[in-house]
């Protein structure tokens, strides 16, 4: 492939085109909508794979670069490019979207949850609502898949942008399809959750916008005002300004990630979002926050990161333990998974702000692996909830007897959440912790307690739902095992996790140079071994 092929723009446009095509199709052809959406996402996957092959790990930091003037008065450009970090996250998007479409195949067909519940308690409801025939309100299947595809375009844009303003535009635009996904297709408290999600994100976005403008002002002061990432790196500014601008970006990203104590929107959004939406929300959208730390906070504001880094480490460690303890205390399966993510985002933040190559590479790997792992966990939980029509853990028991494949996939997804060696999540957690330990040993030791807590919350949930004598929620007399479609949705995630657990090199080869460039931007170097001389000292074999 020639270098000039505009990979990123093409890949970003494909889902948008798919969405437009969907919009032109007749409203009732739901089967066709689903197929078109799936095919579109598979085309994106194929193109992304081709792009990854074309990427040269040892080549330029940013590849597939394109830049065109957009608002020339302010130096705003349409500029895209991918470094290794963005590349692996783009690959994650390409994998997760078809999986989500496949897994959500029938989700939008179902009536909204409150009507399902009404149907479940027919005997009671009949008396109250006698005479008033409740006409089931159908939700548009077409809109659901249009939203997913539009969201995919936005997500691709946010990782591909190399112009800070463009990044900001995607960062905010991403909210809109997600807001509607939660608000229109979510659980009983969806409006509340969607509004909370939006308000939090808006508050963060506002701060970021201010910081983006601030950056422009600073660069304009020193010559030509610009939003181009590579020109902004190394910009001179006083420490006070740096800390102010850093904080603007940081808080926006910390809300998005979410990092403790900015996390409380996530359990609501994660629990109320439709399962597919939850996967995209936690699996990808939230990664924009941690990606932002690494791409923007660190290289643009090295001094501020150095000063504030240790405090952020403290927040991350609290988040790891706090998220894990709260996960243990949840009865709602989807809230539980959301809280595990709070803990996991703590790990990602830890790796980033430890300022070691291992920590940051681990953090990037963690973003990918967490997308696969939490994606699988949400999907399988969704399969269970769709069958039992209850999100509450205590409503279930011994499901493994009735649905062994469901139980098996739930267990593997759970084991990945607790970072069992042999699954890819272990590699990333290990790298984050080993990278943190060599600079902040106490933080690493405390965070390692989170490793124990993870085993407790996962196995507790597994035992309560899947083991013991078989008992199902009231009104559900039997639970069927996974369909072929559901297996096909979740199997690629599990297979990828196992493969990358034993052979993460394809990812680390791409991530390492990007992380090293980031480390160089921040002017930090890895600590050297305190007592030995590393592997170099080992006798040659």
């Amino acid at each position: 492939m020639s270098d000039s092929f505009p990979w990123l723009t093409v890949i970003g446009l494909v889902p948008l085109i798919g969405a437009v095509v969907l919009g032109l199709l007749p409203r009732t052809a739901t089967r066709l909508h689903k197929s078109v959406a799936l095919v579109t996402s598979l085309v994106v996957l194929a193109l992304t794979i081709a792009m990854c092959v074309a990427f040269e790990p040892g080549g330029d930091r940013f590849q597939f670069v394109q830049a065109y003037d957009w608002i020339s008065a302010f130096g705003v450009q349409y500029a895209v490019g991918a470094d290794g970090i963005a590349l692996v996250l783009l690959a994650l998007i390409a994998v997760l979207v078809p999986v989500v479409i496949l897994a959500s195949w029938n989700d939008a067909d179902a009536a909204p949850p409150e009507q399902q519940i009404a149907a479940g308690t027919e005997a009671v409801g009949a008396d109250v609502a006698s005479g008033v025939a409740v006409r089931p309100r159908r939700r548009s299947v077409r809109t659901f898949f249009v939203l997913v595809l539009v969201l995919e375009t936005m997500m691709i844009g946010v990782f591909a942008a190399t112009d800070v303003f463009l990044f900001y535009v995607f960062f905010e635009a991403m909210l809109i399809p997600m807001y509607f996904l939660i608000g229109s297709y979510g659980g009983p408290r969806r409006s509340y959750a969607a509004m909370k999600f939006l308000l939090y994100s808006l508050a963060g976005g506002l701060l970021m916008l201010a910081a983006v403008i601030g950056l422009y002002v600073v660069s304009a002061d020193q010559g030509e005002g610009t939003f181009a990432f590579e020109q902004l790196v190394g910009l001179e500014m006083s420490t006070g300004v740096e800390i102010a601008l850093f904080s603007g970006f940081f808080i926006a990203f910390a809300i998005k990630a979410p990092l403790f104590p900015f996390h409380t929107w996530l359990p609501d959004a994660g629990a109320e979002a439709p399962v597919g939406g939850a996967v995209l929300l936690v699996g990808i959208l939230d990664k924009v926050g941690t990606f932002g730390f690494l791409r923007y906070c660190l290289p643009l504001f090295p001094e501020a990161s150095r000063i504030l880094g240790p405090y952020i480490i403290v927040l991350c460690v609290i988040g790891i333990l706090y998220g894990a303890l709260l996960a243990m205390g949840q009865k709602d399966l989807k809230r539980l998974i959301s809280y595990t993510s709070v803990a996991h985002f703590g790990f990602i933040g830890l790796g980033i702000f430890a300022f070691t190559t291992q920590g940051q590479t681990g953090a990037v790997l963690y973003m990918v692996n967490h997308g696969l792992s939490t994606g699988a966990l949400f999907l399988v939980a969704g399969f269970l909830i769709a069958r039992g029509r209850s999100r509450l853990v205590p409503d279930y028991s011994g499901v493994a007897a009735a649905a062994p494949i469901l139980a098996g996939t739930f267990l593997i997804a759970g084991l990945s959440a607790l970072a069992l060696p042999g699954l890819s999540t272990f590699i990333s957690e290990f790298l984050v912790l080993i990278g943190t330990f060599s600079r902040y040993p106490v933080a690493a030791v405390l965070a390692a307690i989170g490793v124990i807590l993870a085993a407790i919350y996962i196995l507790l949930a597994y035992q309560r739902t899947m083991q013991g004598p078989l008992r199902l929620p009231a009104g559900v007399d039997k639970i069927r095992d996974l369909h072929l479609r559901e297996v096909m949705a979740v199997a690629p995630l599990l297979a990828l996790m196992i493969f990358l657990g034993f052979y993460p090199k394809p990812l680390t080869d791409v991530i390492n140079p990007a992380v090293e460039a980031t480390m160089k931007d921040t002017g930090r170097t890895d600590p050297t071994p305190t007592q030995g001389r590393g592997d170099a000292a080992a006798p040659a074999r």
Binding site: K196, Y200, L202, A210, G422, P504, T530
Partner: protein, 645 residues
């Protein structure tokens, strides 16, 4: 560095590349791994032939293990390191996935695949009525593969992969009958207790990297002398924490007896013969680290001695045959920890590990055979007189019994005697205390094992009405008989024919013997104490009738022992309850406190945005307005900042 270390440890950590037969070392792991994959993913189609495939996979690994052993003996420096691929490459941290075949890992390989094969075959009979036995055999194969990775890995990270892999297999097998709430709880407890230990091992790996810049055996061991005293001790203690978790040592031992909820072949293979001894392997493997820290060695010895006593005391009080055997395992592994804590005596620990692998597996399988014939009854108060109904089982159990209490020439006599000798030979108070504990516990072992034999096989029949005990089929008694033979001869063979101590010397170091007590004195002393233990048990359980319920009005010690010395109560009150309270409190705080504050803010924002909406008559515009407003505020703030500077 002393000249002795130069000749012994100088070679530690330097491994020759694998050649010839040993280049196929990966087959050892591949056979059972493929078996597991086929069985677990194969679906119902594999139900009929699956178990045989599993046996074949384990058998193939065993045969290859034997071949590899001979290849290894033929090598001059007796090490073979097979580099497979670059596993975790991140700058300074370069972890290659490699397998190391040396005397220690070769010994373990044969134990794992050999005993593993026998127990696979036994399971064919034991699990014949279980509809899910395909999964059972799949998990067994998975265990074998993980355990082989544990002992063959050539870096601490590869070891850790196997380490948690066996933990997973153990979890799956303990909870194999997942519909039993006790089994599910026991499995979870095992995994979590192991995780506590695993974190110790993980931190050890982090510390190695921070201090030495490497996690490979080669890199760490060849630089062990560079470690500062504090770092070395910390490393030793962290590795010990890992070992305690996996090997059921004090204070992480309570999961092991609960793990008996799993099927009995699992108890024999994983929770007696192989996995639970991984802690001993870890410490023996890390000999170069412990060589530079006597403090850590001392703590290992103390943990061992304490656990020997805890296990033996509790073992005297239980009526559940499998739990008695489990506490016996806890106690016997204590012996191994005691031995491995003594410089140069690592080989003796491995010796006891091997003989224990034979006789304890033999006893567990015999106990399984008893349960098989007694409708899964485990209460020894409901046994009695089984000697005539199950002669083969009785014979096998008897061989195991004679071996564990240490009657010459049975296997336990050789290994336990050497452990006790080595304990005394440390000299000083350390030698006297540890040696005495070891001798005393030998007496207790004789007591509780004699009690087990008498209650099960002798005396009157105290069976419940519905049981019709019968001898087990040959597919079960065959493996039992082979293990019984092992219980008889393995001690003599390993000490006098193979000379295991010399074979393992390159790994565990030379054992410099300066006898404090003459070996014959130690042997006689031990045998006297053992005889006393047997005699006391005889007077209590052969001379008097055994009530079918445990008698009340016993001494406080017995009462405490029946409640496993209150360790579970302690765990519950010290960790579980406070943990639950903390969790509940945090959930409350998160909902009311943090979220409440934010919701208040959100309400305020929502209110004002509501007002904005009314004015602006459109959400998007209010959004734009708020963006613009925020921008204006911050630009103003920036100007202030700049003016202020």
């Amino acid at each position: 560095m002393s000249p002795l270390l130069a000749t012994e440890s100088g070679s530690a950590g330097q491994y020759a590349a694998a050649t010839g037969t040993l280049e196929l070392l990966w087959l050892l792991v591949a056979f059972p791994l493929v078996g597991a994959a086929v069985l677990l993913l194969g679906g119902r189609r594999a139900d009929s032939w699956g178990p045989y495939l599993a046996i074949a996979a384990c058998g193939a690994a065993f045969l290859y293990g034997v071949l590899a052993l001979f290849a290894l003996i033929g090598l001059e420096d007796r090490t073979a390191d097979l580099q497979l691929y670059s596993w975790v490459p991140v700058r300074e941290l370069q972890v290659d996935f490699g397998l190391l075949f040396d005397p220690l890992s070769a010994t373990f390989t044969l134990l794992i695949t050999g005993v593993g094969l026998l127990i696979h075959i036994y399971s064919l009979g034991y699990m014949s009525h279980d509809p899910r036995r395909r999964l059972f055999f799949g998990y067994l194969n998975l265990f074998i593969a993980a355990m082989l990775v544990l002992v063959l890995g050539d870096s601490f990270l590869a070891l850790f992969l196997g380490w948690e892999g066996v933990g997973l297999a153990s979890y799956l097998l303990i909870s194999f009958w997942f519909y039993k709430p006790d089994a599910a709880t026991a499995a979870k407890k095992a995994f979590i207790a192991n995780r506590v230990g695993d974190v110790g091992l993980l931190l050890a790996i982090f510390l190695m990297f921070a201090a030495l810049g490497t996690t490979s055996f080669t890199g760490v061991f060849s630089q062990a002398e560079l470690l500062g005293a504090g770092t070395a001790t910390a490393l030793g203690l962290l590795l010990l924490l890992g070992a305690c978790g996996k090997s059921g040592q004090f204070p992480l031992h309570t999961w092991l007896p609960d793990a008996m909820e799993g099927p009995t072949p699992v108890s024999a293979l994983i929770h007696a013969a192989t996995m639970v001894t991984a802690g001993v392997y870890l410490i023996a493997r890390a000999t170069p680290i412990y060589d530079v820290t006597d403090t850590a060695r001392l703590v290992v010895g103390i943990i061992g001695a304490v656990t020997i006593l805890i296990g033996a005391i509790i073992g005297c009080a239980y009526d559940d045959i499998k739990k008695v055997l489990a506490y016996s395992t806890v106690s016997q592994i204590g012996y191994m920890f005691l031995a491995v804590s003594i410089p140069g005596a690592g080989a003796i620990a491995i010796l006891h590990l091997l003989t224990h692998g034979f006789f304890k597996a033999c006893m567990f399988l015999s106990a399984g055979s008893v349960m098989h014939g007694m409708n899964d009854q485990v209460d020894m108060r409901r046994f009695g007189g089984l000697r005539t109904v199950m002669p083969v089982t009785f014979g096998c159990m008897l061989m195991g019994y004679l071996a564990i209490i240490g009657v010459p020439p049975f296997a336990g006599f050789f290994s336990k005697d050497l452990v006790i000798e080595a304990a005394f030979d440390q000299g000083g108070a350390r030698g006297v205390v540890m040696g005495s504990v070891a001798v005393l516990a030998a007496g207790l072992t004789a007591f509780y094992m004699t009690r087990l034999m008498l209650m099960t096989f002798f005396g009157e029949k105290r069976w419940t009405d519905d049981v019709h005990p019968h001898e087990s089929p040959p597919v079960m008694t065959g493996p039992m008989a082979l293990l019984a033979v092992g219980s008889l001869v393995s001690g003599f063979v390993l000490v006098h024919v193979v000379d295991l101590e010399r074979w393992l010397e390159p790994v565990t170091g030379e054992h410099k013997v300066e006898h404090v007590l003459a070996p014959i004195v130690v042997s006689l002393l031990t045998l006297t104490v053992v005889a006393a233990g047997v005699f006391v048990a005889y007077t209590q359980y052969a001379k008097k009738p055994i009530p079918t319920t445990a008698p009340a009005g016993v001494t406080p010690l017995t009462l405490a022992a029946r409640r496993n010395l209150y360790f579970d109560a302690l765990n519950e009150n010290l960790l579980m309850r406070p943990g639950q309270y903390l969790t509940r409190a945090l959930v409350f705080v998160d909902n009311r406190g943090i979220d409440g504050a934010v919701n208040g803010l959100a309400a305020a924002v929502g209110g004002s945005s509501g007002r904005l909406r009314r004015i602006q008559n459109g959400f998007v515009r209010s959004y734009a307005l708020s963006m613009f407003g925020g921008a204006a505020v911050v630009v103003a703030a920036l100007l202030v900042v700049r003016l202020g500077l």
